[in-house]
Symmetry: C2
Subunit: 183 residues, 2 copies
Amino acid sequence: MRADAQRNRERLIEVAHAVFKERGLDAPLDEVARRAGVGPGTLYRHFPTREALHEAIMATWIEEVSAHVEKAMATEGGCREKLLAWFEEYVGLLTRHQGAAAKITASLGCEDSPLRTKCQTYADANESVLTEMADHGMLREGVDNLDVCRLLGGVATMADQSSLEPRDVRPMLDVIANGVLKS
Amino acid sequence: MRADAQRNRERLIEVAHAVFKERGLDAPLDEVARRAGVGPGTLYRHFPTREALHEAIMATWIEEVSAHVEKAMATEGGCREKLLAWFEEYVGLLTRHQGAAAKITASLGCEDSPLRTKCQTYADANESVLTEMADHGMLREGVDNLDVCRLLGGVATMADQSSLEPRDVRPMLDVIANGVLKS
DNA sequence: AGTGAAGCGGAGGAAGTCTCCGCTTGCATG
DNA sequence: CATGCAAGCGGAGACTTCCTCCGCTTCACT
């Protein structure tokens, strides 16, 4: 790739990140192009679809996921406290951009989604936490990772769409934790 | 209201129902107008916003909710079976139209949503079922109706966006039931 | 039949998406 | 350094959808 094209690509990702943060994942793509100082044609050549741009942005988040797992697992207390801390991290990760939670979670079950490989990182992180719970004999029988991811994705989507505060989200996570852990 | 206006209004609701069912709640309103045989101006006079049209359609669903509660509560078995049957009914009601689950649930917490009064019916129905559980001493302490509605709304939204079958939804409802009931 | 108001419809402006193609620019090569 | 050309750019414009405005039609009452 030519050096100028590379520069444009990076600048577009950077600007798109800012625009999507301000105006949600549905923000006009032409504005992304305008603020990046390129024509719409350039944007659409680098990222043929809106999803391609989402994917490029999320790629930068993926690297941070394992740090969030470790942070949650370092929480004081028992399995329940650790699990809830992780659930809060998970929802926080998914609600970084307005509209992202629903898209990310929808891509989990879908083989041919372009986002899937990226989003699998979230599912893998959740699985590692659930495995930790299982190792301590705290996980209920028959609890499936994908189902928990979808439940958390649903909570994140509701939080996103209703602009819920963490204190409004917590009780929902409590219910899920009760449903996931042996009591 | 003039008789012709009344006819147009009813016809618009009928056609919108069909169009939204086929193409989701985001279907072009101009197509609704076209298929109803009226101009866009007529549609927008009767229903100034997309939400007003959604509201008019949902009004016809509201009447059926209590029947669904009764159907679920007539399920063979204990509290858990009844609750799960109701959860399935609830998710089914919310996923009637593509995109409806998220909107309905988002309106629950929002005082000034035009959909709120209609959607409150769903929340009330769920509350009546939870109360039934509580009366049998099966409800965990501190479980809040709005939180359960949001959890179910999240599940319905995921089911909607990922086109999940009932057999894929069931395990998620199991987790919520475990989280809601005493074990 | 006449009349006034209610209602209609479609032209058209605004906003967004996405493509096409003529022009520009980076860079490998002599 | 000069040159050739493929890679890349940008913006005009076609298309879609939303929504409004206003001249014309139709209803309903007398």
